[in-house]
Every structure is written in structure tokens, then in C-alpha cells.
């Protein structure tokens, strides 16, 4: 084989390899695009279902609340009792949602420290000063964990269980899903139960976290 032919063969090999490389690259990119497209459709479908669910539950709450209000005028004592029970439960639920939407939401240490102040209309002064509930975000060595770790948090979901009959205090046991993350990290979810005690003015009186 002549030197020229050898060079030509090497060039051909390089061309084949390059063509192959581009063909594979194109194939992979096309595959990724197709998978993304399918995933987008799947996400769209899930969003549509969630919207339909939200619409249903919104209407469910709306009509149930309207029906309960109408029950207030009913002659039957047990129906009127149901209205009272329902209305008190709604108040406990409202207070619980207000509490956790602020208590578990912060994006910097300033937010973290202001939570008690933001909640002062619905919590007692004793609770606002309780350092076990509203700590300063520092560890035992005095380091600011919220600032140093860039710790963020927000409320993801909550399920409220209430009782207004056990004693003078109304209570709520709340399953909370908290979304928290460090700066430049993806959010992680954590579950916990909280016990809220609400006095007759519907002010949060006591908070106990149940892991």
C-alpha cells in the first residue's frame, strides 16, 4: 500500500469516526428532546388533574360552609349544634393556617426573627416570648444557623384536625409538611405533627411539636 493510500485511509477513518460521533450526538439530543416533550405532556396532565381537584375541594368547602350557615336557622337543636361546632372548627382551622404560613416561612435570619412579631395578633404575649418556639436561630456555640447555612423554609401542606369540646381550650393537631433547603440546594420535605392550643379568643396559647 502506498503512503498516499495509507493517508487516505486514515482520513477516511477519521471522517467515519467524526460522522459517527455527530450521528450519536444528534441521536442522544433528539432522544432527550422527545423524552422532555413526553414529560412535559405528563406534567401538564398532572397539573390539569390538580386544578380539577382544587376546584372540587374549593366548591366543597364553599357549599358546605353555606349549608352550615343555613343550618343556624333550623328548628332542630342538633342541626343548630352542628352549625356551632362547624363554625368553631372553621375558626380553629383559619388560625392554624395563619400561624403555620408565617411560623414555617422564612428566607433569611431577619424573617426568622420577625415571625413572633408578624404573628402578634393571633398569639399570646407569653407564647411570643417563648424561646423554645421562637428561638434566635443560633446554635449552642452562638453561630447563626439560618444565615450561615442560608437556610430557607416554607409551608408545603397541612392537614388540620380540631376539637372544640374537650375543655375550655380548643385544640388542633396539625400534620405539617415543611419544605426547607440550604442556599443552592433543592428543597427537601419533612413531616411533623404540631399540637396547638387555642383559648376562647382563638389566640394560640401553646404549641407543642410532635415528631
Amino acid at each position: 500500500m502506498s503512503k498516499k493510500a495509507k493517508i487516505l485511509e486514515v482520513i477516511c477513518c477519521v471522517v467515519v469516526i467524526l460522522l459517527g460521533f455527530f450521528a450519536i450526538k444528534h441521536n442522544i439530543q433528539q432522544g432527550a428532546q422527545e423524552v422532555n416533550h413526553v414529560r412535559c405532556l405528563e406534567k401538564k396532565s398532572n397539573t390539569k388533574l390538580q386544578q380539577e381537584k382544587n376546584k372540587y375541594y374549593k366548591n366543597y368547602k364553599k357549599y358546605k360552609s353555606l349549608a352550615a350557615q343555613k343550618a343556624y336557622l333550623n328548628k332542630d337543636q342538633k342541626v343548630r349544634d352542628y352549625y356551632k361546632d362547624f363554625t368553631e372548627d372553621q375558626l380553629i382551622r383559619k388560625r392554624s393556617r395563619q400561624f403555620f404560613s408565617i411560623y414555617l416561612s422564612w428566607s433569611n435570619s431577619r424573617d426568622y426573627l420577625q415571625r413572633a412579631h408578624k404573628l402578634d395578633k393571633i398569639i399570646t404575649p407569653q407564647l411570643a416570648q417563648d424561646k423554645n418556639i421562637f428561638d434566635n436561630g443560633k446554635d449552642v456555640t452562638g453561630h447563626n444557623i439560618i444565615k450561615n447555612l442560608g437556610l430557607h423554609s416554607r409551608l408545603n401542606d397541612l392537614t388540620i384536625y380540631s376539637n372544640n369540646q374537650m375543655s375550655s381550650n380548643k385544640i388542633a393537631l396539625i400534620k405539617v409538611v415543611q419544605e426547607s433547603w440550604r442556599q443552592d440546594e433543592n428543597p427537601g420535605l419533612s413531616n411533623s405533627f404540631y399540637l396547638l392550643q387555642i383559648n376562647s379568643d382563638a389566640l394560640v396559647d401553646q404549641v407543642i411539636r410532635l415528631k
Partner: protein, 221 residues
């Protein structure tokens, strides 16, 4: 001819390898795409069914629908909940405060069953099985019910079943002596425990239809 083929072997091998790689990548891409498509089709089918389900349920909703549900009940929801609170409180008090020895333990099922049913009474009974304690006496692990909270979720109007969550914390009796022979009395000798019970309570039948238990820890009290 043979010589020509022989001299082009490197090119032929390179072409075969490259072609093989292209085919392999294509096959893997296709199989991955097919599995993603199959899953998406399954999700779409499920979601369509669910969307129809919620749309149909939504169309039935009205103020009158709920008003009828409230007024047609032949039982009193508030009274049932009140009575259930009392029965649960009594059952937990009997279990964690009044069951002290093997004799009490053996009578527990007969006391609890009328209050909370046989299945849930078995669950409570399992929490206080008498064992040999460090001071050499066989007795139940708990002596005090420290905290009991019962709370209700949303009543399902079509089934009339309401989810209930119970938080209970209990502690062991204080033990005066230790295995070292040193007589002490105080917090160190008290074992504390707590748990969350999730119950499905059928308001019409007035009984517990389902439950689960999760042991818990208290962060702050």
C-alpha cells in the same frame, strides 16, 4: 482483490464499530423513549379518569346537597363526637393509669371493648403488657397518662366517616431503688413515651373502623 480488502481492514473495522455504536445508541434511545411514553400514557389514562370523577362529583355539589346531608341525619354529630371523646378518654385512663398489675391487665379487654371496640382495645392492651421491671416486680410499664388530645378531621358526607387523631403521652411510675442499690427518686427513674393514633370513626355505626399507630417524640411542651 484479497489484498485490497486486507489493506482496508482498519477502515472496515472502524466503520463497523462506529455503525454498531450508532445502532446501539439508537436502540437504547428508542427503548428509553418507549418506557417514558408508556408511563406517560398510563398517567394520562389515570388522570383522565380522575378528572372525570372530580367533574362528576363537582356537578353534584350545591348548598342544598350539604344542607340535606346535615338535616337528614338521624343522629347528632356533636353528641356523637362528645360521647366518643369521653369514651376515648376513659379507655386511655383505664389503660395507662388504672392498669397496674397482671390482674388488672387480664381484665382490661372486658373493660375496654364496650368503650372502643375489640380491635382498638387489643391495640391499647398491647401497650401495657406487664413485664419484669428493674426493681424485680412484674408490672405494667406505665402509671400516668400525662397528656391526651383528641382531634377530628373533615367529615366525609357520603360515608359519614370522620378521621380522628389522638395524641397521648404517658409515663412509668417513679422507681425508688436502682439495680446498684443506691436509693434515688426523681425524674431519672421515670420513663416517658408518647404516640399518635390515627382512627377512622364511623359516626352512623358509632364505632372505630380502622386505625394506625405511630410512636412519637415531643419537642417542646
Amino acid at each position: 482483490m484479497k489484498n485490497i480488502i486486507k489493506s482496508y481492514i482498519p477502515l472496515i473495522i472502524t466503520t463497523i464499530i462506529v455503525f454498531g455504536l450508532i445502532v446501539s445508541v439508537h436502540v437504547i434511545k428508542d427503548s428509553n423513549l418507549r418506557s417514558v411514553q408508556a408511563r406517560a400514557a398510563q398517567t394520562e389514562k389515570f388522570n383522565k379518569k380522575q378528572i372525570n370523577y372530580y367533574r362528576q362529583k363537582d356537578q353534584k355539589l350545591s348548598k342544598q346537597y350539604f344542607y340535606n346531608q346535615i338535616t337528614k341525619r338521624d343522629y347528632d354529630v356533636v353528641a356523637r363526637k362528645k360521647s366518643f371523646n369521653e369514651r376515648i378518654s376513659k379507655a386511655f385512663t383505664i389503660t395507662f393509669e388504672q392498669t397496674k398489675n397482671k390482674n388488672d391487665y387480664n381484665q382490661l379487654a372486658s373493660k375496654l371493648t364496650p368503650l372502643v371496640g375489640s380491635k382498638f382495645s387489643k391495640e391499647l392492651k398491647s401497650k401495657v403488657k406487664p413485664t419484669m421491671q428493674p426493681d424485680g416486680v412484674e408490672r405494667t410499664p406505665f402509671a400516668h397518662l400525662d397528656n391526651l388530645k383528641i382531634a377530628y378531621g373533615h367529615l366525609n358526607e357520603s360515608t359519614q366517616i370522620i378521621p380522628v387523631v389522638i395524641f397521648a403521652s404517658y409515663s412509668s411510675p417513679a422507681i425508688d431503688g436502682t439495680s446498684t442499690g443506691v436509693i434515688t427518686k426523681g425524674q431519672d427513674q421515670i420513663k416517658k413515651s408518647s404516640g399518635i393514633y390515627k382512627i377512622s370513626y364511623d359516626l352512623i355505626a358509632d364505632k372505630i373502623v380502622n386505625f394506625s399507630f405511630k410512636e412519637g417524640a415531643i419537642d417542646h411542651e
